[in-house]
Symmetry: C2
Subunit: 118 residues, 2 copies
DNA sequence: CAGAATCCCTGCCGATACTG
DNA sequence: CAGTATCGGCAGGGATTCTG
């Protein structure tokens, strides 16, 4: 998912939000200010590297704000920007929609979606 | 992006919608019934294989409906399900939100998001 | 503690060829 | 025409090490 094939805003958002981590990070950040290590605790499966990369991406997108404090040990805080806060209800709407799909008649007799879930 | 790390519906949706193609396919399918070759024409950069895989995924998710017709040459039609139709306005909302972010004050002096765009 | 840099491997996805 | 099957390259992302 590198280049865009159209100049569609939806495609641009998906470029940001695609993947496992962006929505999760937003979910935890909406609980309030978090430090790097907090976010690591929140989801222990993300690697150190991915956390920094994803946070950087969200920061560049204007969704997350990064505040650095002087002194030792280093300390950085992350918050949702106002734009990021406005995003939250939209994601919730998506989640609600999905729950109706899962329970809906579309899969009356079949199992929902097959997701490899080790 | 294989396994889920939480039982959050948002994460489940993203499992489906992540990547370059799902939103694009939905975008074209909302124009009405499409055949396999129509969708290939709509976005020429998707590979034969990916198109079938993505369509299958959306079908399993209950977003797209596949109708097969007997006879030669084979003929298959794709439509959005009612659930898929309900998804469209949500994606539009995301797109609109993004446009406000891009134009917003978050990047007053910096360039928007850096996307590799060859 | 936050994160930059390096190495390395897995799995995604493209190309090609074949079936109904 | 629509779809499977197989192979292979390459990039996404994990583990580790190093700096401020």
């Amino acid at each position: 998912m590198k280049d865009l094939v159209s100049r569609c805003p939806i495609e641009e958002v998906m470029q940001i939000m695609s993947g496992r981590w962006p929505t999760l990070l937003i979910y935890y950040l909406k609980q309030g200010t978090k430090r790097f290590s907090d976010l690591r605790r929140d989801n222990p499966t993300i690697s150190h590297k991915m956390l920094t990369l994803e946070l950087r991406k969200l920061e560049d997108a204007g969704i997350v704000e990064r505040t650095e404090f002087e002194g030792y040990p280093l300390r950085v805080e992350y918050d949702l920007t106002s734009a990021g806060l406005k995003l939250v209800p939209l994601l919730d709407a998506l989640g609600n929609w999905w729950e109706t799909v899962e329970a809906g008649p579309a899969h009356a007799s079949t199992s929902p979606v097959k997701l490899s879930q080790k």
